[in-house]
């Protein structure tokens, strides 16, 4: 998930009231379909998702032609190479979209699961049972594959979804949604389980955010400006991650070989993902021996280093880190590196500058690991592994609709389980309350 502010920069044409009416109409169709989705048996949803995967395969030619159109328009607009790459579909990428839907189809069904049950002294049996959230709005960047991931996860959890992808991917997303709907309908569930925004007008997003009571939850997926706007304007709950300012702390008791491999992987495997490390903290106790090999590996891998004075002193290729560097999510081959006073220094730095996303410690000391995992207040805290494991797929969630840095409702990777609520069902035998 990386920035894509251009998605919201299409010219304003719709009047707000017209946008409100369009959202109301789409949401009404979703709400009409919602009870059938909520009641759908696990096997019905599995079949629908497999059928949707097949429909994407069957309509590959149509989808790729639509993608060609998006690509031509994007090139004419002068979009950057990395944005064009994210937009691009081909046979292999489309096959992985279908396989993603099949992976979600094979997940355990989260709906109807009895999360807890107990019997009260008066004989009442109370069960807490997972239920769908309802109608979910997803606003996302111009990555056509997100269309299928978000649609598939929402359906798996018995929800209806309204998808509003970035304008650059409008043709591709529309073609994919058409295929998903065809597949779902062929399997006997309502096609309106998955709908797309009927317009790319930016007013439509504003109207979605105002649609309290029609859309139950909004999920923004994309850059900081998009997520910030949704958090600011939404009149309904939001599941959104703001940023991933992830740290790797190399403790005094670290295995240096592990530390070197983890630091390079956490930063350089993919620099544009939210789980990429942005700051490396090194315990002063081992700075003398650990700093040079860590910096050598990172620089050899193509990473630019911005460091505190002690890090600069260790390697002439390091430039000076400013205060701003400690709060910057580079999403690029740049790493800030700082020597800290042991565990307390690391915890203080992370508490002050971190974003509560994912932070890792490298240590062979179980007590140090226990203190770090207890005291770092982040969605994901990792011992002796790369921060790039911050990913729904890597958690075994099949896919993810995003990674939440919020503590409310869902924290960390948001998969199908996180798109559910629950109800209490109480079975009695005539009990009245004294």
């Amino acid at each position: 998930m990386s920035p894509d502010s251009t998605s919201l920069n299409t010219p304003e044409a719709l009047a707000p009231a017209d946008a409100d009416a369009m959202v109301a109409e789409t949401a009404a169709r979703a709400r009409a379909a919602a009870p059938a989705l909520a009641r759908a048996k696990p096997a019905d949803k599995t079949r629908a998702l497999r059928s949707a995967a097949d429909a994407v395969r069957a309509q590959a030619a149509v989808i790729l032609t639509a993608n060609d159109k998006d690509m031509a328009e994007a090139e004419a607009k002068g979009l950057s190479g990395s944005m064009l790459d994210r937009l691009k579909l081909d046979d292999a990428r489309l096959e992985s979209v279908s396989q993603g839907l099949e992976a979600v189809a094979d997940l355990a069904d989260p709906v109807g699961r009895i999360q807890a049950d107990w019997t009260r002294p008066n004989g009442l049996v109370i069960q807490r049972i997972a239920v769908p959230l309802g109608v979910i709005g997803v606003v996302y960047e111009s990555r056509p594959n997100v269309t299928a991931d978000a649609g598939g996860l929402a359906l798996k959890a018995g929800n209806c979804v309204i998808l509003r992808g970035g304008s650059e991917s409008a043709h591709s997303s529309a073609a994919i949604v058409d295929a998903l709907r065809t597949g779902i309908a062929a399997a006997g569930l309502p096609a309106d389980a998955i709908q797309r925004a009927p317009t790319q007008d930016r007013q439509y997003v504003g109207a979605m955010l105002r649609a309290h009571g029609l859309i139950d939850v909004m999920v923004p997926r994309g850059g900081k400006s998009l997520v910030g706007r949704v958090l600011e304007e939404a009149r309904m709950p939001v599941i959104g991650h703001l940023e991933g300012l992830c740290h790797v702390y190399v403790d005094g008791a670290a295995d240096i070989d592990k530390a070197r491999a983890i630091a390079v992987n956490a930063k350089m495997r993919r620099t544009g993902v939210c789980g990429a490390a942005e700051t490396l903290l090194v315990d002063r106790a081992i700075a003398d021996t650990a700093l040079s090999p860590l910096l050598d590996d990172l620089i050899a891998a193509g990473c630019a280093i911005r460091g505190c004075p002690e890090v600069q002193a260790a390697d002439a290729r390091v430039t000076a880190a400013s205060e701003e560097d400690w709060t910057t999510e580079y999403l690029d081959a740049i790493l800030s590196v700082r020597v800290v006073d042991g565990m307390t220094g690391a915890l203080d730095h992370i508490a002050r500058y971190g974003s509560g996303h994912t932070d890792a410690i490298v240590t062979e000391d179980r007590n140090a690991a226990a203190r770090f995992t207890a005291e770092v207040d982040s969605a994901i805290v990792i011992v002796n592994a790369s921060t790039q494991y911050a990913d729904g797929g890597e958690f075994g969630f099949g896919a993810e609709i995003g990674i939440s840095t919020d503590k409310f409702h869902a924290r960390g990777p948001v998969g199908a389980d996180q798109l559910t609520s629950y109800k209490y069902v109480i079975a009695g035998d005539g009990q009245t309350r004294p």
Copy 2:
């Protein structure tokens, strides 16, 4: 929980900027105390809650004197008898405040609980561990006992809390908070785990609602106007219930004796609670035999009945129900009664007019019960028992801070468990992501 809009009607005196500064100062103290609360061992919190209960007992004279002051001011202002009764403290009520704190002390500690754990094929062990939410703001009506319930539950879940009770109970609440803080500090935890609004100025509530990033969650507890204002203005997540428009559906396969006892209890045990029934639905299949005894019992218990034409025809004492009656939370000894076309008619009525709080079916037919519990989309769905079991204490939660009709984060009674979030802790052995 019943309406108390007067709490917000104190004159405006503080400038908004001054109110913001006061909230910032209070929240800063809470945030400074939060790490110690989050780290506190279960035994520390149990001891602190027992110590707080003892401090309430030790300071009973001071608290009752403060309450006398509130009562005198409230009487001078001409408050209604029921409001005076809710405000009033005496030795017995104060002892039950202490016992409530001890009940919360004895609950299982929700923090640190491993909610799920699994091992990935690459050897990573993932644990999902409950953590506190952080700093909770509670805005509530003039019921002094809520001060201790809300403070105790928040502390049990490792949170810090800022309590803003209704202005009529200002002296009582301040004295209770002082006692709680004394008890907590005596047990070695930070007194700032529980703070109260340093002013009763209504601008303070507005400033709390703007304090995004300082207060993590707001919990409004009270009438519709208070909860509505908080939902409208809060810039942070809110756990709040809007209203309890609860139904009892007497199915064609009901045991009539159970139905009679449940209908009277659901409506009349206490009419002012959110779990009180507001509408009785009777299956046409048994209306001929069931309606008369049901109406007789209710009217004998002092309940006024507003009914559809068929209900009016069954008993001359029934007045006509208007469309508005089906959406009215009376919180009084009034019940709307309607004859419906079996299960489908009941489900349609509840979907159209219900508030998603608590609904009950009376039936001896297991299939009917299963359909009703599956299809009614409410926080609590009850078979063959009174809707008045919608209560955290009755669920075994020790106490409750409210009942949520939202599907996001917490639904139903909000106890200590519902005031937590979670983090993922991943243990590796040097894994890097391919």
